[in-house]
Subunit: 348 residues, 3 copies
């Protein structure tokens, strides 16, 4: 594909080297990271940290931010460039021009075990050894990879993909264009036990899990169903691997959670929230829209909309930066304090 065609198809182009060097229109055959790219590849520069690579990259073309200096550097090296507002988005689209994801053709494998009361839409793919129980409803173009188990009464919307060995528990409702990655467990029993003098008594989990449209759930993540009512994950929300969503959590739309995030029961999370890796959220806490928690934050109480929090227990991120800087100087502070005490004649 000619570089000029890529520029046309990104749908993001602001300016390109073609207006200055119309003859520099290399044939591009693939995409690559800027520090590893070779001739025939298009790559990208994201932020100041990677700007040095304009002078070194082996790529034939670059997706740049709107930066005349970088544009000149690239032109001087005969590297074709296109400037866009968000080079990372540009690169994502460039990958999409070259990469053909593995997509099995519509078919139902003879080794799939499908209950006669289940219903399938048009163009579904059901892989080998998939088990689909009674009363399941699959939308059009649903793709179920091998060895998945779908318990009774589940509904799955159009175009949703279930990767190998994931498990969808009874009565779960999954929207359209969702992706459930390998080994994830959706709609499994919430962890509900009540202490009694003779041990922990199970509280049946009669509720359901609902994933709205466009949700992604990472490998081996778990989204439990509650005792009553719903666990719900809003449209367009994305969860990374090994995330734990307990019974009765309510997660908004367009929220992202990185790997190994965990939340206790009944947590409420707003729209557009970002939770970095290994964040934990306690029982019943409420996280406002567009709040951000940095990695390993331990949230014990509510977080206001738009707030950025860090630390455990969580505090405002700006405060945390100050606290953390002084934390490592505690031995020095302690020594100073003792010297002052001595000077003042007091005893510890």
């Amino acid at each position: 594909m000619k570089f000029s065609e890529i520029c046309d198809r990104l749908g993001l182009t602001v300016e390109t080297s073609l207006s200055h060097q119309p003859d520099l229109d290399p044939e591009i055959t693939s995409v690559g990271a800027v520090d590893a790219a070779t001739a025939g590849m298009v790559s990208y520069i994201e932020g100041a940290k990677f700007a040095q690579f304009v002078a070194k990259t082996g790529a034939s073309a670059l997706i740049l931010p709107k930066d005349p200096t970088l544009q000149s550097q690239a032109s001087d090296r005969n590297v074709a460039w296109v400037s866009v507002a968000d080079p990372r988005l540009g690169f994502a689209r460039a990958i999409g021009l070259f990469y053909q994801p593995y997509q099995p053709a519509p078919a139902i494998h003879p080794a799939a075990v499908i209950d006669e009361t289940a219903t399938c839409g048009e163009g579904v793919h059901i892989g080998a050894n998939v088990v689909v129980h009674a009363g399941v409803t699959l939308g059009d173009r649903v793709c179920i990879h091998p060895n998945v188990v779908v318990y009774p009464g589940v509904t799955i919307g159009n175009g949703t993909v279930l990767h190998a060995n994931c498990v969808i528990h009874e009565r779960t409702q999954i929207g359209a264009h969702c992706v459930i990655h390998s080994g994830a467990a959706i709609g499994s029993e919430g962890f509900g036990f009540v202490p009694t003098p003779t041990g922990w008594e199970k509280m049946h989990q009669s509720g359901i899990t609902v994933l709205e449209d466009g949700v992604e759930i990472g490998c081996n993540s778990c989204v439990d169903r509650p005792a009553v009512g719903e666990t719900r994950i809003g449209a367009g929300t994305k969860l990374d691997n090994l995330v734990h969503v307990a019974h009765g959590c309510q997660v908004g739309k367009g929220t992202v959670m990185a790997g190994q995030v965990g939340m206790a029961g009944g947590v409420t999370i707003g729209n557009g929230v970002i939770l970095a890796g290994q964040v934990g959220i306690a029982n019943q806490a409420k996280i406002g829209d567009r709040a951000i928690a940095t990695a390993k934050t331990g949230i014990h109480s509510d977080v206001a909309p738009g707030e950025i929090v860090s630390g455990s227990p969580a505090m405002p991120h700006r405060l945390f930066l100050k606290v953390a800087a002084i934390y490592s100087r505690l031995p020095e502070m302690h020594k100073t304090l003792r010297q002052i005490q001595k000077q003042l004649g007091g005893g510890l």
Copy 2:
């Protein structure tokens, strides 16, 4: 089901509105959360935090604590009520009156692959694509959901349930009435490697994992077997999702672990212990009976029976509350300290 019948069947009733308003005996058809319940539902009030909902709930009946004020409020609104010592336990039993968990009928699916040397008790269910290896013994009414793999020499007690896609490794012993949730790995090889000049040499894991009666293991949790001897989880202990139990751990009876708890090798945990989410416990540490660790606690040494610990490294919870409160004031303390130094003429 009439409200009066529910009261009879809870087995917990202390007092009901029926003695004051015998005609208020609504037909109850389901259970619901107090803030979402509608007519025909029974709900419950747990603690002061939810007491406000007595005045608002749409439920036809409530399970209340022994609280005359709440009883009056409910009666005034013509909401039937039953008071019990533990409303959450009452609600758990109420759910059990209405909810029929999915329970496949006794049968062995033709697509299950069962070694001829395996033995099955009465009334077992073995789902499609389950693989049961040589020398496995299944008790009566064992239920194995699809795509589970049971390695050789495993024994599984009466009434135990294995959910889809879990794996039970060689020689594991699972008691009666256990539940292994989807994707869990039980009796897998412990992480045993010895450093040598030519790399990490594997220490074979020749031991076994034992789960006593009534144990539950959450989705995608792992309970490894040790090099020699046993990893053991005591009767009635419940583990949530994504928990990691390393080789040689000894866990007592009636203990609970929330999501993403992890313990290193050889940890000993007593009876009735509570570990909140994302707690970590170091190698060989001993946790006494009825100890509690709050979320994200990092335990590096022994914890006494009944102790409550928090923080990382762990400390007594009451101390932690004080420490955490001052922690966020470190910048202020640091500033004060410098002012004092200046006042006293010292240099930092």
Copy 3:
């Protein structure tokens, strides 16, 4: 097996009791932990902490460090002994003399579903319900346990073992003599999304995951593939259960990661690194060769080769020990500071 034969076969022997007591050559039938061993067992003493057990163990033979006192104690009790430089390594080898791991015979189960374009080496085992997709290449003596799914274009080297229900995603390259434990997901899609005004847009993950020879990946761990290029794990590196390796991470050789370690995208880890349980590493951080991070460490920036770090944010371990000791005395420091202020007449 006679004790004398064990000494010969360990390949590590420095000195044995046989030179002093040649008639004390007991028949050894198994291995056991020193506090649980009985007659006919060989056990071992690792470090001062377990030295007390020489005087108590029921074992017939012991693997000791080079310590004349322990040797005498054992001889006095008629316990045969062998001294080696590393008793734990000696014990690992002793286990290997007695323990025969479960190893299915070469065969392809009729219920395996293998694409006709896949190629298999000599002596492979493929269990029931395994699914092997198009273009997969399996080396000699590869062992695939039941219900594993191998996506298209994967290559797997000689002698590698895939445990039940793991998933190997498209184009992954796995070397020789690797072990992938139950439920692990290898080569799954990295968590790549770009924010746009209309929501998170997927960045296709066109790269691959490469595991070099001798890598082990624990149960339910995940190693994602990147948008472009490779996620790579070096030869002889071992990962415990529930570990998360994000897209584009580069892990060196002979590194070990304990349970529930997580790393964000693009992390670089050197050779011989040790990451203890629940460590987290932020985006793009670089960890030098032979560095060590203790349990729960949160690493936000680069760590130098050989450095030992602790805490979150991570700091040098020796500093952390001092900081942590003073941390729990913060309330006391705060009180002292206020007293000094009062004494000096200042107001907080």
